[in-house]
């Protein structure tokens, strides 16, 4: 049975320490409830950009972990970012891919290739240091410490079901520009 995205996010919130998190699409509504007012910036308004936004953060802050919560449909929009990330070799970047096989936000239309698309192979082929899939929540929890400490770039394909909310059913949250400003201020304070 596929993992519930909210359970995965709760496990991440409990273990992430001071990691910067970059949610996008259907992880955004749940994440702002689970981890409000924290070191996060959502990729909002430019679908597909979460991985690259995370790369920029990881390069700017090499001593801090950066964790991207990507979607399969989102990553397909900027699939070349796998090679860009691999080429830039950020040791502190973890790329979590929430794989549900559909564009949930726009009505759950199947993504090209559906669930057969193998992002683990793609990440390995692009040159990520490590990539693997996780299908079980207990297994994910066991792996969490290494997910936050292992040398990156690391991609973990998470086999999940659909989130309870999407950015269309729960439109709250700050605009991207406000999130950017808030995170800049927080990072400026804590370094």
């Amino acid at each position: 049975m596929a993992m519930k995205p909210e359970d995965v996010l709760r496990a991440i919130a409990a273990a992430r320490g001071d990691a910067i998190c970059v949610p996008t699409m259907t992880t955004s509504p749940a994440w702002r409830t689970i981890a409000p007012d924290d070191l996060s910036v959502g990729c909002t308004g430019f679908m597909g950009g979460a991985s690259s936004l995370g790369l920029g953060l990881a390069l700017a802050m090499p001593k801090r972990r950066v964790v991207v919560f990507d979607g399969d449909g989102s990553l397909l929009m900027q699939l070349g970012s796998l090679a860009t990330i691999a080429g830039a070799r950020p040791r502190n970047l973890t790329h979590l891919l929430f794989k549900n096989g559909v564009y949930h936000t726009s009505g759950a239309q199947e993504i090209p290739g559906g669930l057969t698309v193998d992002f683990v192979q793609m990440a390995k082929g692009a040159g990520y240091r490590k990539a693997y899939a996780v299908t079980d929540l207990d297994d994910f929890k066991r792996r969490l410490p290494s997910i936050f400490t292992e040398e990156g770039p690391l991609l973990v394909e998470l086999h999940t079901g659909l989130a309870d909310k999407t950015p269309m059913t729960d439109r709250g949250g700050l605009a991207f520009n406000q999130q950017v400003e808030n995170l800049r201020k927080k990072l400026d304070k804590v370094g």
């Binding site: 430019f46 690259s52 936004l53 790369l55 900027q78 520009n177 950017v180």
Partner: protein, 178 residues
């Protein structure tokens, strides 16, 4: 008549620009170049390969370069995007989402491949040359032409402008760099 700009002049100007942006910080690299390789600026890109003070991240698309720039900005790092006019057209939605709506200052150095030496941009035979300035105008992106070595002062000027207005600003490289 426009003239080609030597690569070392552009690189030294970028280094000065980033040095000013960093203030007293001695952090390395001095700044970041996010590049989607551009034929028009290939001598600059080749020279950057040997440059230790600036780090180049080659991106697969201009969309990525814009989003990487946002992450660098959040983390306090200076950067510039080196792209081609075709890349400007390709990444319009990301420029809107990141630099405009997101109010992320992004400085673009845009190569005008195929720009004719003896024609103004608006009279070019090539649509990709003709549309660059009108597109930037449509989006309200301030821009200036680098028509020769005397114009490189536009680099720090428009870099600073992007920071001041918290949004995009661009310089257009008129002729192929040497």
């Amino acid at each position: 008549m426009p003239e080609s700009i030597p690569a070392p002049l552009i690189i030294d100007t970028l280094k000065d620009t980033f040095r000013e942006a960093r203030g007293t910080s001695t952090r390395e690299p001095l700044g970041w170049i996010l590049s989607v390789p551009d034929t028009h600026q290939k001598t600059v890109l080749a020279a950057l390969d040997k440059e230790r003070a600036l780090r180049v991240v080659t991106c697969a698309t201009e969309d990525e370069a814009n989003a990487v720039a946002a992450g660098l900005w959040i983390g306090g790092e200076p950067c510039a995007l080196m792209i081609q006019h075709a890349g400007l057209y390709a990444s319009v939605n990301t420029i809107r989402g990141v630099a405009m709506d997101g109010r992320v200052p992004i400085f673009y150095i845009i190569g005008l491949l195929s720009r004719e030496k003896d024609r103004d941009l608006k009279d070019s035979r090539h649509s990709m040359v003709r549309y660059a300035e009108p597109l930037l105008d449509t989006f309200g992106v301030p821009h200036a032409r680098l028509e020769g070595p005397d114009d490189v002062h536009r680099i720090p000027e428009y870099y600073r402008l992007s920071r001041e207005r918290r949004g995009p600003a661009a310089v257009l490289v008129g002729l192929e760099t040497i």
